[in-house]
């Protein structure tokens, strides 16, 4: 008897298969009903970036570009500028005039966070960034920087364990954002020709 013949008449195997599928019918389903039920993610989950502030409202970022250098995916573009005495944006000499992250390039490795000397750039657990417009994935300071009324942002070693309460904030920002704005600095092709790296035009 050939092998397939033997398998064909193996009624025991058939019954075993049927009982397996039948018992699986009553097993607990691991499905998470995603938009209505959120899964708890890992404590050090790497999601959307955030630029933090100091308690006095000043930006932590000093425009040093270490994050842009550390970035493996070339996703970060920083163009720094000198602080002027009448409008001090950060405690140091310089601040980030432009700070843009192309989230489509980003691999969420967290090296920018580790490179940052002032703990300015951190990764939040936010992950819902879907959009129909490509340009909307280039996040500029208007979406990265913690709004002054929202506090200072979360230190990287105190990253919230789970879903942030303001997850919906990503959606709200998306609808109002000017998607062409993000390309001012990030469109490396022609823009970086006009700007010398490290100094604003």
């Amino acid at each position: 008897m050939s092998d397939h013949r033997k398998n064909l008449f193996n009624v025991g195997a058939l019954v075993r298969g049927l009982t397996t599928t039948f018992s699986y019918m009553f097993k607990k389903k691991p499905t998470v009903q995603y938009p209505s039920v959120m899964k708890q993610h890992a404590p050090r989950f790497h999601g959307l970036h955030e630029l933090r502030r100091y308690a006095d409202g000043k930006e932590r970022c000093i425009g040093c570009e270490l994050c842009a250098i550390a970035c493996q995916a070339n996703a970060i573009t920083v163009i720094g500028a000198e602080n002027s005495p009448e409008d001090r944006r950060s405690p140091g000499e310089r601040f980030a005039a432009r700070y843009e992250i192309d989230e489509l390039r980003c691999i969420f490795c967290g090296l920018c966070e580790e490179a940052c000397p002032t703990d300015a750039i951190v990764l939040t657990p936010r992950f819902e960034m879907a959009d129909y417009r490509r340009g909307a994935f280039v996040y500029a300071k208007d979406r990265l920087l913690v709004p002054p009324e929202a506090g200072v942002g979360t230190p990287p070693d105190e990253r919230p364990n789970g879903i942030p309460a303001d997850l919906g904030g990503v959606f709200r920002a998306k609808d109002t954002v000017d998607i062409t704005a993000g390309y001012e600095a990030t469109h490396r092709g022609h823009i970086l020709k006009d700007h010398t790296r490290g100094g604003a035009a």
Binding site: H4, L8, L14, G17, L18, T20, T21, F22, Y24, M25, F26, K27, K29, P30, T31, Q33
Partner: protein, 334 residues
């Protein structure tokens, strides 16, 4: 009662049966997706309505509003006609299937035909033309392969199926479905005809193109087989026809082997109680089909053929001969 013309009664009955059968189709489709989901550790469709109960309605709306494409290479008339052949034949069988009976013997059926079982087989055989013509008229290679397979599969499995059913017909001494059911008042035919029942069950799956014998539409090899080119409502019609055929063979299995509307152990059951028994039995077969689909992988085509011709047909013939001899030797015992 006599003032109501017979055609009006039949028409009303037909409309009621049509609505019931279409509803059963809709929910057997949902049940299939649900049960398959559970068996694959998924919750199944649960977005439309409570527990996904309105999913069939959503599907129907989707089907209706999709574009109805006809390929340039298709034979337009046959291409458009084929789904209707399938559907009409699938629906036609329900005209003669009795679902229950009253105490006085009158049937809960649209019509009682004295050659009922033959008519059912005729209908399902013509229904195959729908599939074959659809594949042929589509004018592309995968549907053609599907239709060739369907023809070959039908020829080889319908033979064994008929053979397995003839045993029942010999025992009942009639081809009328009501007589067959009445003959099972004490003992269901599954007991004297166990071999016939198993063969019927297997061939019925092949007959309805269900997994593991769904080579006609094999998604992974034939990209949908005979209905590759179909879209929108015409695809929906094939879908309805497939499920109606599934319900038909389930009803037939109930009528031929499980005593129809008779209760177990000779329990008398008429009217609504009989209908309940019928639904339970036919429902079990529907569930069994779904269960089998989520358990077994698809047959290889040559093995399907070998199985049909070299195993099922000889066994069915042997069963038929033994039954005939037994009836001839001990005519009083059946």
């Amino acid at each position: 009662m006599s003032s109501v013309p017979i055609w009006l009664i039949v028409l009303i009955k037909a409309i009621i049966v049509l609505f019931v059968v279409i509803t059963v189709f809709a929910y057997s489709m949902l049940a299939e997706r649900k049960v398959m989901g559970w068996m694959q550790l998924r919750p199944g469709p649960n977005r439309v309505g409570p527990w996904g109960l309105l999913q069939p309605a959503a599907d129907a709306v989707k089907m209706m509003f999709k574009e109805d494409l006809t390929p340039e290479t298709a034979d337009p008339l046959i291409y458009r006609l084929a789904p209707f052949i399938s559907l009409i034949c699938a629906m036609g069988t329900f005209a003669i299937i009795p679902f229950s009976a009253n105490k006085d013997g009158s049937l809960w059926a649209v019509g009682n035909v004295n050659a009922g079982i033959l008519l059912v087989f005729c209908m399902t055989s013509i229904g195959v033309y729908g599939i074959s013509l659809a594949g042929w008229a589509s004018g592309s290679k995968f549907p053609l392969l599907g239709s060739v397979r369907s023809t070959a599969q039908m020829i080889s499995y319908e033979l064994a199926m008929s053979m397995s059913v003839i045993g029942v017909l010999i025992l009942a001494g009639s081809t009328a479905l009501s007589d067959i059911v009445n003959a099972q008042y004490r003992v269901w035919f599954i007991i004297p005809q166990l071999v016939g029942f198993v063969i019927y069950l297997i061939t019925a799956i092949a007959e309805t193109n269900r997994a593991p014998f769904d080579l006609v539409e094999a998604e992974t090899e034939l990209v949908g087989g005979f209905h590759t080119e179909y879209s929108g409502l015409r695809f929906g019609l094939f879908f309805i026809a497939e499920y109606l055929n599934m319900i038909t063979v389930s009803c037939l299995a109930t009528l031929l082997f499980l005593g129809g509307w008779n209760g177990p152990f000779g329990l008398p059951s008429f009217g609504l109680l009989g209908l309940l028994w019928f639904i339970i039995k036919a429902g079990f077969f529907l569930f069994f089909y779904i269960w089998l689909r989520s358990t077994l992988p698809r047959f290889r085509y040559d093995r399907l053929m070998a199985f049909g011709w070299k195993v099922l047909l000889p066994v069915a013939t042997l069963n038929l001969i033994l039954t005939a001899v037994a009836v001839a030797v001990w005519p009083t015992h059946v």
